[in-house]
C-alpha cells in the first residue's frame, strides 16, 4: 500500500485541478459521467494488472475488445433474444483467448510479449476475415443499455465497474492473488513452495481476457459498433497499470493502484481538454508524465538487493 500511495495523491490533485476549472465536475451527474467514461479503461487496467504482476504482458486486449464488439454485433444482429446468450459467449470468448495466451506462454514458453503480439494480429485479422472486412449486424437495445443506460441516477457501467473493482480486490486478497504475486516475484521459489506457476499465470491471462470482454460490452454499449473501438487500448492499459506503480516484471504493486492509474490517465485527458491543450500536445504531455512517474517510482524504491550479502 505504501507504494500505491503516490498515485492516489496524484489522482486527487488532478481531480481538484479539474474541479477548479470546471466546478460543475464535482456534481454527482458530472462526476458519474467521468467515472462512466473511465470505466472501460479501469476494467482493462484491472485485468492487465493480474498479467503484469505475474511477470508477463498482454498486448492483445485492444484487438480483443474490437473483436468482441464486432462478434457481438454480427451475432446479435439487433435481436433482443440473442442478447444474453451472446453476452455469455463474449465472456467465454474472452476467457478462451486468455487461456490460449496463457497456455502458449507457459507451456510452449513463448515470451508473452510475442504470444500476445501474435494474438493481436490473429484476432484483428480473423474477426474481419469472418465479417468480410467491416462490422456487420447491429447491437440490440438491451445490449446497448449496459453501456448507455443507468439504474436511477447511476449508470450501469459504474455499477459494473464497482462490481469488477470489488471482485479484483477480492481476487488479489484471495489465495489466488497471493500465489500469483508470488509467481511474479520469484517463480522458482513459488514453484518450490507448491504454487502451480503455469496455472496461476494462465488464469491471470484469462482474467485479462475476461476484463477485455467486459470492457467491450461497456464500450460497445456506450458508443455502438465500430471497427476501431479497441485501438490502442493495450498500451493505455499497460500505461495505466505502470502509472499505478506496478512494476513491469512482476511481483510488486496493487490492483487498486492500477485502477487508480487508469483513473489518473482519464483525469489527465479530461484536464488537458479543459485547458485546451489540443490533440497535438496531448501525447507529448502523456509521454513525459509516464516516464516521470515511473522514474520517480524507481528512485523512491531502489532495487536494493537483500541485506544478507556476506
Amino acid at each position: 500500500m505504501r507504494r500505491a500511495l503516490p498515485i492516489f495523491v496524484v489522482l486527487a490533485g488532478l481531480l481538484v485541478a479539474i474541479a477548479v476549472v470546471n466546478p460543475y465536475f464535482l456534481e454527482p451527474t458530472a462526476f458519474l459521467a467521468f467515472v462512466k467514461r473511465a470505466a472501460p479503461l479501469v476494467i482493462l487496467a484491472a485485468g492487465q494488472y493480474f498479467v503484469i504482476v505475474s511477470g508477463e504482458f498482454d498486448l492483445s486486449v485492444g484487438s480483443l475488445v474490437t473483436a468482441e464488439v464486432v462478434i457481438a454485433a454480427r451475432l446479435i444482429d439487433g435481436s433482443a433474444e440473442a442478447t444474453w446468450p451472446v453476452l455469455a459467449l463474449m465472456i467465454a470468448f474472452g476467457l478462451i483467448v486468455g487461456l490460449v495466451n496463457g497456455a502458449v506462454t507457459t507451456l510452449l514458453r513463448v515470451p508473452s510479449f510475442i504470444t500476445t503480439l501474435g494474438m493481436l494480429l490473429i484476432l484483428s485479422g480473423a474477426v474481419f476475415l469472418w465479417t468480410g472486412g467491416s462490422p456487420r449486424g447491429a447491437l440490440s437495445e438491451q445490449f446497448r443499455q449496459l453501456g448507455r443506460g443507468s439504474l436511477g441516477p447511476v449508470p450501469w457501467s459504474v455499477l459494473i465497474l464497482v462490481a469488477v473493482a470489488a471482485a479484483a480486490v477480492w481476487a488479489t486478497r484471495a489465495r489466488f492473488g497471493h500465489t500469483l504475486v508470488a509467481a511474479g516475484d520469484n517463480d522458482r521459489a513459488a514453484a518450490l513452495s507448491g504454487v502451480r506457476v503455469a496455472r496461476v499465470r494462465t488464469v491471470a491471462f484469462m482474467i485479462s481476457g475476461l476484463s477485455a470482454a467486459v470492457a467491450a460490452i461497456l464500450l460497445g454499449g456506450f458508443a455502438g459498433v465500430s471497427a476501431q473501438v479497441g485501438k490502442g487500448l493495450e498500451f493505455q492499459a499497460i500505461t495505466a497499470v505502470v502509472l499505478g506503480g506496478v512494476v513491469l516484471g512482476g511481483g510488486r504493486g496493487s490492483v487498486a493502484a492500477a485502477m487508480a492509474g487508469a483513473f489518473t490517465l482519464e483525469a489527465l485527458f479530461t484536464l488537458l481538454n479543459l485547458y485546451g491543450i489540443s490533440g497535438a500536445l496531448e501525447p507529448a504531455v502523456q509521454g513525459v508524465i509516464i516516464i516521470a512517474a515511473v522514474a520517480l517510482g524507481a528512485v523512491r524504491f531502489p532495487r536494493a538487493r537483500a541485506a544478507a550479502a556476506s
Binding site: H178, D185, A189, R252, A304, A306, A307, A308, A309, S310
Partner: protein
C-alpha cells in the same frame, strides 16, 4: 605487496566486516578461512572492486588505491574467481576469457589472437576436452570453472583471488589446480585462497588469516597450525557446547523410506528417515546432496526405485505427502524478496490450500525477532530470512523436513536458534534431513550421517563421528 587496513562494511545497517587487516606478499599463497558468514566473500569483493568499503584503506605496492569498479581492480592487477560462476553461457570460451578486454588490431577484435591465447591458457591448465570456440553453455560446471580460472590467469594478475575454486572440480582437476597455483606463485604472483577444505589449505597455504563474525582473529604461518587448532580459531568455542543436546531415547517409526531410488544424478539410493531423528548428509559439492533433497521432495523426482510414502512426481505431491524442503539458495529458491514476511510465511499454505494459520504464532514459533509480519523480507538479515522460510513450512505441518544448508549466510545467534528449532521439530516427531558443508555443524547436529559420493550413498556414520571419518568417506576415490 597488498595491504588492506581497517576494512569495514555494512549492508543496510548490518555490519558484516569491521576493522579487518590483511597483508599479502608476492609469491605467497595466503589462505583466508572462516565459517560461512564470517565475511570472507565480502572482503574479497571489496578487494575486487565490487563493493566499496565503508572504512579502511587498500594499498598495493605501497600505493593507496580505491576501486570504484571491478575494472579498476583488474587494472591494478587483482583478478578474482568467484564462488558463483560469472560466465556468459551464450558466448564462446575465448569470448568469456577476454570479456571486457578483447585484444584489438586495427580497431577490430583480433579473434585469432584471442583464440590462440585462450588455447594456450587451456593447454597450460591441461584442459584438452574443449577449445576456445566452444559455447560455455555446452560445458559442464567443472569445465566452466576451468574457464573461470583461465580468465583470471589471462589477466596477468599479480594478485589472484580464488573463492572456493575447487568446489566443483574433480580430484584430478584439483591436483592440476595445485600445480597451477604453485606455478603462479613461482612467478611472484600472490594467491589469496578462500576455502572450506582444510586439507587443501594445509597443502597449499603459506600463511592463513582466520576471520570470524566479520573480524580478523589472527594471521599465522600455516606451519604453526594444525587442523584442530585452526578449527578452534574459526569457531572459537568448544563444539559440544554449541549444539542442542540430541534426543535421549531411540528414534521412532520410519516415516520416509527409499529403496533403489535413482534419476539422472542419483543412483541406487537406500534411505530411511525416522520420526524424532536428524539425519545428516555429507558429501563434497557436486556429490548429489541437493539433488537428493530435491528428489525426496519431488522437485527433481526419482525416476526409479520404491518410496514410502508414494514417490512424489511433483512438488505438490511432495508437499501432499508431508515433505517440506528448505532450499539451499534462499534468494533464488526460497523467498519472495519483495513480499512481506506474512505473505512469505503463508505461501505454502496458500499454494496448497491448507487451512489458515495465525501468522503471529508462527513467527513466535520460529523466533523471528523482531516479529514484524508487514516487513518486506528482502530487508531482513539472513538469519531472519531463514526463519521466515521455516515458518512457511510450519503452516502445513510436514512430517519430513529437508534442510539444504540451513545456516548458510546466517549470523551466529540465528544459527543457534535454527539449530534449536531443528532439534525441537525432531523431538515433536518430525523426521529431519540436514545437508551441510560445515562438518562441525553436521557432526554436532546429526543423530547419524550418511555420506554421498558421485550420486551414491557410500556409507553411514554414527553420531559423534570425527571430521576425518566423514571426509575420508566423502572424498575417497
Amino acid at each position: 605487496m597488498l595491504r588492506m587496513t581497517g576494512i569495514g562494511k555494512s549492508f543496510l545497517g548490518v555490519r558484516v566486516l569491521g576493522g579487518v587487516d590483511l597483508e599479502v606478499s608476492a609469491g605467497e599463497v595466503h589462505a583466508v578461512v572462516g565459517e560461512n558468514g564470517a565475511g570472507k566473500s565480502t572482503l574479497m569483493k571489496i578487494l575486487a572492486g565490487v563493493h566499496a568499503p565503508d572504512e579502511g584503506t587498500i594499498e598495493i605496492d605501497g600505493r593507496s588505491v580505491t576501486f570504484g569498479h571491478p575494472i579498476e581492480a583488474q587494472r591494478a592487477g587483482v583478478a578474482i574467481i568467484y564462488q558463483e560462476l560469472t560466465l556468459l553461457p551464450e558466448r564462446t570460451v575465448a569470448e568469456n576469457v577476454f570479456l571486457g578486454r578483447e585484444p584489438v588490431r586495427r580497431g577490430l577484435v583480433d579473434r585469432a589472437a584471442m583464440e590462440s591465447a585462450t588455447d594456450e591458457l587451456l593447454k597450460s591448465l591441461g584442459e584438452e576436452s574443449f577449445g576456445p570456440r566452444d559455447l560455455v553453455r555446452r560445458l559442464s560446471v567443472a569445465r566452466q570453472q576451468v574457464v573461470e580460472i583461465a580468465k583470471a590467469l589471462s589477466l596477468n594478475a599479480r594478485i589472484v583471488v580464488m573463492d572456493e575454486p575447487t568446489a566443483p572440480l574433480a580430484d584430478h582437476e584439483v591436483e592440476l589446480l595445485y600445480t597451477l597455483v604453485r606455478r603462479l606463485t613461482a612467478r611472484g604472483i600472490a594467491v589469496l585462497y578462500v576455502s572450506h577444505r582444510l586439507r587443501e589449505i594445509f597443502d597449499l597455504a603459506d600463511r592463513i588469516t582466520v576471520l570470524k563474525d566479520g573480524a580478523r582473529v589472527t594471521t599465522a604461518e600455516a606451519s604453526s597450525l594444525d587442523t584442530a587448532g585452526l578449527v578452534r580459531l574459526m569457531v572459537g568455542r568448544e563444539l559440544d557446547s554449541y549444539y542442542p543436546p540430541r534426543a535421549a531415547g531411540p528414534p521412532g517409526e520410519v516415516i520416509l523410506s527409499v529403496r533403489g531410488g535413482g534419476n539422472a544424478r542419483l543412483h541406487d539410493i537406500d534411505l530411511d528417515l525416522r520420526a524424532g531423528e536428524i539425519v545428516g548428509v555429507a558429501g563434497l559439492q557436486g556429490s548429489g546432496r541437493t539433488e537428493l533433497a530435491k528428489a525426496l521432495f519431488g522437485a527433481e523426482p526419482f525416476t526409479s526405485g520404491e518410496m514410502t510414502p508414494r514417490r512424489p512426481r511433483s512438488v505438490r505431491e511432495g508437499i501432499a505427502a508431508g515433505i517440506g524442503l528448505v532450499t539451499e539458495d534462499r534468494k533464488a529458491e526460497g523467498l519472495l524478496p519483495n513480499q512481506r514476511v506474512r505473505d512469505n510465511a503463508l505461501l505454502v499454505a496458500r499454494a496448497t490450500g491448507a487451512p489458515r494459520t495465525g501468522v503471529e504464532r508462527l513467527l513466535e514459533r520460529v523466533r523471528l525477532s523482531p516479529p514484524r509480519p508487514a516487513q518486506e523480507v528482502r530487508l531482513l538479515s539472513g538469519g531472519n530470512q531463514q526463519k521466515v522460510v521455516l515458518a512457511k513450512w510450519m503452516t502445513v505441518a510436514p512430517r519430513v523436513l529437508l534442510f539444504d544448508e540451513p545456516t548458510r549466510g546466517v549470523d551466529v545467534g540465528a544459527k543457534a536458534a535454527i539449530h534449536d528449532l531443528m532439534r525441537e521439530l525432531a523431538r515433536d516427531g518430525m523426521a529431519v534431513l540436514m545437508i551441510s558443508s560445515e562438518l562441525p555443524e553436521l557432526i554436532g547436529m546429526s543423530d547419524r550421517i550418511v555420506v554421498l559420493r558421485d550420486g551414491r550413498l557410500v556409507g553411514e556414520l554414527p553420531a559423534g563421528s570425527t571430521e576425518e571419518a566423514v571426509m575420508r568417506l566423502a572424498a575417497a576415490s
